[in-house]
């Protein structure tokens, strides 16, 4: 409907003009030197997918070992390296870059900007990821094997292991620098480059959630950088921040790490909230219920996330007053989270809903993320957590919020915007198949882990007592279904890029942000060089 009136925005390479706004150069140098937010977004997403497969393979090896009690496939030390690097790769390599990829693609288009504020820095933020990933994964091949301390990098173990730790620490530094650069870029773009009329309270929720996430990132990534720097100096330069032998305090590291760590989990879920808040209204064909309350809820979650870190440390021996404080603060944070769930459900209420693949993933997100939120509340009860801490119950909790939360939202977003990005419709049949395989595989893999945790099975151990066998076998079967169905996803994405039915400009009739209403599908290489006027 609106393409005709905004044809001046299009500069596809098929009708390159005499001026310098041309399409991308061909070949590798296009990607190496690109400053185009869409190219960079694409690279982030592919990088994230590659890391997802890498981390996923480690997870399947872990599950294969846990198919039976006893030691079958891997050495215990290597098993610990697998759990550690799986966690690091998924958090820093898969989930976070995927969201930055979405931000690159969508933030400029949704606020009517031509590109990111600092395009050259944008290129740097991406290319820094490559050496970091090589360091992380390469650490498997150095003497002593990859870091085996768990992704939380706790001393004293981390102070004692070999050079892989130094590689891991360096990787974390680089990833942190990349995230901070990305965040500065995103904040500046959102605050300075909005089209005329695009007031803050008119921004799509995806942009809002990313604005808040970016602030969280620049607040806590430096803290993580500080913490791992202290680990490094403890290892090599004779300091004793955390080294008990020199008068340091290992629990001090836990405090600093989780001061980063809890906001970090919200860094991984807020953009997911943003994506879901775009998708549900589009398929319910109703505006988002409670837009303003969504913005306030997101902000309060971000602020509260700084005062709940102690819920990861209920068993380290904090005084009872501390434990109680962190217990109540954690329960408090569930309130704005509940507001969001309520708003999504209210958006669907009496809507004329259809269930294409993006909506299926979004509804799947809604149901399963809520389960993860509830198991979080169970863990937030101090006396309960003392028995559940470091069991599979915790593993179940954070996979419900991260896989069926963050990852399902990413999948939903890919199906939602792929037609806009490529100009082709994906295969709805295969998309739905992918959803159901993921949904079933995921629940079969992770729901039993609640039972295992409640029955006392500890996490991060390659062997287990016999009575845990059945649920572990079921879990492993589910994990393999989930893992291999992601190859179907890869196939769907590639074939959609290659061809397929032509996607309408406004692919989803209920979608109303600028990229749908003002831009054709596929979006041209350069968009909004003249800012649209938003009424």
């Amino acid at each position: 409907m609106s393409t005709a009136t905004h044809a001046h925005d299009t500069h596809g390479h098929d009708h390159a003009h005499a001026h310098d706004h041309h399409g991308p150069p061909a070949g590798f140098s296009r990607w190496m030197y690109t400053t185009n937010h869409k190219d960079i977004g694409t690279m982030y997403l592919w990088f994230s997918f590659a890391m997802f497969l890498m981390g996923g393979s480690m997870a399947l090896l872990i599950r294969a070992e846990l198919f039976q009690p006893g030691l079958q496939l891997v050495e215990p030390q290597f098993f610990n390296s697998l759990t550690t690097v799986h966690g690091l790769v998924m958090v820093f390599g898969a989930i976070m870059p995927a969201f930055v990829g979405f931000a690159n693609w969508l933030v400029p288009m949704q606020i009517g900007a031509a590109d990111m504020a600092f395009p050259r820095m944008n290129n740097w933020s991406f290319w820094l990821l490559i050496p970091a990933a090589l360091l992380l994964v390469g650490s498997f091949f150095v003497p002593g094997g990859a870091a085996a301390s768990g992704w939380t990098l706790y001393p004293p173990l981390i102070i004692q292991q070999g050079m892989s730790i130094d590689m891991t620490i360096l990787a974390v530094h680089i990833l942190g620098a990349s995230s901070i650069m990305g965040s500065i870029n995103i904040i500046t773009t959102i605050l300075n480059l909005r089209a005329p009329g695009m007031t803050l309270m008119k921004m799509p929720l995806f942009v809002w959630t990313w604005l808040i996430t970016a602030y969280l990132l620049i607040a806590v990534m430096p803290v993580l950088a500080g913490a791992v720097t202290m680990l490094l100096t403890d290892r090599h330069f004779g300091t004793s921040f955390f080294n008990a032998a020199g008068g340091g305090d290992p629990t001090m590291f836990m405090h600093i790490f989780w001061f980063f760590g809890h906001p970090e989990v919200y860094i991984m879920i807020l953009p997911a909230f943003g994506i879901v808040s775009q998708i549900i209204p589009a398929f319910a064909r109703k505006p988002l219920f409670g837009y303003a309350s969504m913005v306030y809820a997101t902000s309060s979650i971000a602020i509260l996330s700084f005062i709940v870190w102690g819920h990861h440390m209920f068993t380290v021996g904090m005084p009872a007053a501390g434990n109680l404080f962190f217990m109540y603060a954690t329960m408090l944070i569930a309130v704005p989270t509940g507001v969001k769930i309520f708003n999504w459900i209210a958006t669907m209420w009496k809507g004329s809903m259809t269930f294409e693949t993006p909506m299926l993933f979004a509804v799947g997100f809604l149901c399963l993320f809520t389960i993860g939120g509830f198991s979080g509340l169970v863990l937030a009860i101090t006396p309960v957590d003392i028995t559940l801490h470091n069991t599979y119950y915790v593993v179940a909790h954070f996979h419900y919020v991260l896989v069926s939360g963050a990852l399902f939202a990413i999948m939903a977003g890919i199906y939602f915007w792929l037609p806009k990005w490529t100009g082709h419709m994906y295969s709805e049949g295969l998309g739905k198949l992918h959803f159901w395989l993921s949904m079933i595989g995921f629940n079969v893999a992770f729901f039993p882990q609640h039972f295992l945790g409640l029955a006392g099975m500890p996490r991060r151990i390659p062997d287990y007592a016999l009575q845990f066998t059945e649920w572990n076998q079921i879990s492993t079967v589910g994990a393999f279904i989930f893992g291999f169905s992601q190859l179907l996803f890869l196939y769907i994405v590639i074939s959609t890029i290659r061809g397929g039915a032509k996607a309408p400009d406004r692919t989803w009739e209920g979608a109303d942000s600028l990229e749908w209403t003002h831009l054709p599908s596929p979006v041209p290489y350069h968009t909004f060089e003249t800012a649209p006027v938003v009424k």
């Binding site: 901070i180 500046t188 605050l191 300075n192 620049i218 430096p222 500080g226 600093i256 005084p319």
Partner: protein, 176 residues
């Protein structure tokens, strides 16, 4: 395309955001002394682990232990520093004895414990005692010696006074 004014604006904002970044990096390091100081100030460095106190102490009753000392034919000055101690069964206490060798030669002696009533002996549980080994004192030497012990909480309730006595016997070098 971005105007120079716009670019300047962007750089300014970037500057501000970088200040936050650096400040947070500093904050990360500052957390080490901060945690220590806040916890010290609030007195919450140590967990009070509820219920993990010594559950073997029976605070409901007292036992008086009278401390006696004697010599079997040795001209040593031997005495307890206190006449008696009052304690709860199960509670670990330390008492001290002093001994002086008044002879003009080195003497090796061994102390033997005795209790009254004599059944009390099995309830006096010693961790450290000079009676565990021979004591050799040079001519004129004085020595203070601890006894670390407790009265078992299994001791009968009517056993509220125990006399604990030590007697030193000279140990003659064998074959001399």
């Amino acid at each position: 395309m971005m105007t120079p004014a716009q670019e300047l604006e962007n750089k300014r904002l970037m500057g501000k955001l970088l200040v936050i970044t650096v400040a947070m990096l500093g904050f990360g390091f500052a957390m080490v002394p901060m945690y220590k100081q806040i916890c010290d100030a609030l007195g919450i460095t140590q967990t009070r682990v509820v219920g993990a106190g010594n559950t073997q102490v029976d605070a409901s009753r007292d036992v008086t232990v009278e401390l006696l000392a004697s010599n079997a034919g040795l001209p040593w000055r031997f005495e307890a520093l206190e006449r008696s101690v009052k304690l709860h069964p199960g509670e670990l206490v330390t008492v001290r004895y002093r001994v002086q060798n008044n002879l003009g030669r080195p003497v090796t002696a061994h102390a033997v414990m005795n209790t009254a009533p004599s059944v009390a002996a099995r309830y006096v549980e010693k961790q450290e005692c000079f009676c565990f080994s021979n004591q050799t004192l040079a001519a004129g030497e004085t020595r203070e010696m601890p006894v670390v012990f407790r009265v078992s909480s299994n001791a009968p309730r009517d056993m509220d006074v125990i006399s604990l006595s030590y007697t030193f016997f000279e140990v003659k070098a064998s074959g001399a």
